[in-house]
């Protein structure tokens, strides 16, 4: 069935079709409509899940993790300040090795308050030991959340998985989404599996103190599980074709016009759509540029990224920053390939880019690449940002 819906509605539908048992959740813009949709489904009797309204995101993950540890398929969703407030429990979930899925509607982080899109919140969890995927359209948001349960519950992985999506731009954009039937999803998604289940009849200690040698071994185990997830994701992506018309999940990341590309643009998220429009127009002018869209930050598919070494120049665009350093995606790519890599940080705090901005960024990069000085990080300002005058306390007086 194909229906027009937002990414948040699509995520709620994935939760429904996955027959999730417990949702521990706290509202935050731009994720709130996920809860609203789930609550509506609950009120209409469409889902059996217990939706637990908690007092904070820290508790939201506590409930979701607890339910997961007790053997129930569980889900939560958050973003921005909420994700940061949850941060401690995010690590507790991966360290506990309990499979679960979390949706992250990305949003800038204060101070000052800003409700608009930026990916820094999502990127700041990259060391937490989760499987981390990032969607570029509402369809992919649905597909990744649904696949997420199977990836997370695979015995070669047994780690929680978060699926990021650009706040508002995806979470609130309504477009056509294909939903498989309940029977198809039941066939695709086996009953929940997990490494252990807490049970009062057979008590175990969970997360009790681990001495240094065992703790280090456990961290290495999570590292290995993330790396092993690469082949698991491909296998599940291929199997997904049985219930979906989309066949682009055989790789972790997605290439666009890379076959004969001399230059590559690397980015993740919704703006890939606008970038593809820009690439098509530049191609018509004889500029051989392609795109590699990062869909999985963890695992980091090193062999897929390494293919970039075949091009003459690489441009990485981040909608996030590691302040004082550069975009996190840029740093990851730079650590993977031997080529010169240029990083562009832009689109922060809801700043929007259009096709012309992409063309401007790409053309400047090509000029620098030809002069072999396409290295380092640049902050790109769309015209509206350029006009902003700086404020300092003297002006405020």
């Amino acid at each position: 069935m194909r229906k027009v819906m937002s990414a948040n509605e699509a995520v709620a539908n994935a939760v429904k079709l996955a027959r999730v048992g417990v949702v521990g959740i706290y509202p935050i813009t731009p994720q709130t409509t996920v809860i609203e949709k789930l609550a509506e489904m609950k009120a209409e009797g469409e889902i059996d899940a217990d939706i637990v309204r908690v007092e904070s995101e820290h508790a939201a993950m506590g409930v979701t993790l607890g339910a997961g540890a007790a053997g129930v398929r569980s889900f939560t969703a958050t973003g921005s300040q909420g994700l940061l407030y949850m941060h401690e429990m995010v690590w507790w979930a991966s360290g506990s090795r309990v499979p679960l899925v979390m949706m992250v509607g990305t949003r800038a982080v204060g101070a000052p308050w800003n409700i608009w899109n930026e990916n820094t919140d999502f990127m700041s969890e990259r060391d937490s030991g989760w499987i981390m995927a990032f969607a570029s359209n509402p369809q992919e948001a649905f597909d990744l959340v649904l696949q997420g349960f199977r990836i997370s519950e695979d015995e070669r992985v047994f780690l929680p998985m978060m699926v990021g999506m650009d706040g508002f731009i995806l979470t609130h954009m309504k477009t056509n989404v294909y939903l498989p039937s309940q029977e198809e999803v039941d066939a695709f998604l086996p009953p929940r599996r997990q490494p252990y289940v807490i049970d009062p009849e057979a008590p175990i200690g969970m997360g009790n103190i681990f001495p240094p040698v065992e703790y280090m071994k456990l961290r290495h185990s999570i590292h290995s599980a993330i790396q092993s997830a690469e082949s698991v994701i491909k296998e599940i992506g291929k199997d997904y074709e049985k219930i979906s018309p989309f066949n682009n999940y055989r790789t972790l990341n997605v290439k666009y016009r890379m076959e004969d590309a001399d230059y590559a643009l690397v980015l993740m998220g919704a703006w890939a759509g606008d970038a593809m429009e820009a690439i098509d127009e530049l191609r018509e002018k004889g500029i051989n540029i392609g795109m590699l869209r990062i869909r999985y930050l963890r695992p980091w598919a090193e062999s897929e990224i390494k293919e970039l070494e075949n091009v003459k120049g690489i441009l990485v665009m981040d909608r996030a920053t590691s302040l004082g350093r550069g975009g996190p995606l840029y740093l990851e790519v730079k650590a993977t390939v031997r080529n010169q890599v240029k990083g562009v940080v832009t689109g922060l705090g809801g700043v929007l880019l259009n096709k012309e901005d992409f063309k401007r960024i790409i053309l400047k990069f090509l000029k620098e690449a030809k002069e072999e000085r396409s290295d380092g990080v640049e902050w790109y300002y769309p015209a509206e940002v350029e006009k902003v005058e700086l404020r300092n306390p003297k002006d405020v007086e």
Binding site: R97, E155, F158
Partner: protein
């Protein structure tokens, strides 16, 4: 587990996860069974669950008792005395 790298942060309750902690002891609780009234105060307060009450009388598991002395301290009739291991 089929996948050798997999390792999970769980512990299963059992005797002596920290080894035979009885070797940590340099004073041992000795119970005067003539004085013991079977009130279970020592059983309740022992932090290591090494005191067992069998047929109303107290028995100490010396393999795991660390000799902390809490039992002697809480005994209302002073039926438990701490004696040096070297005696």
């Amino acid at each position: 587990m089929q996948h050798e790298y997999q390792y999970f942060p769980i512990t299963v309750p059992g005797k002596g996860a920290g080894g035979q902690t009885g070797t940590w002891r340099f004073v041992r609780p000795v119970v005067n069974l003539n004085k013991c009234i079977g009130c279970r105060a020592c059983w309740m307060f022992c932090p290591e669950a090494t005191i067992h009450v069998i047929d109303g009388k107290v028995e100490v598991d010396y393999d795991y008792c660390k000799g902390c002395g809490i039992c002697a301290n809480v005994c209302p009739v002073k039926a438990i005395l701490m004696e040096g291991e070297d005696q």
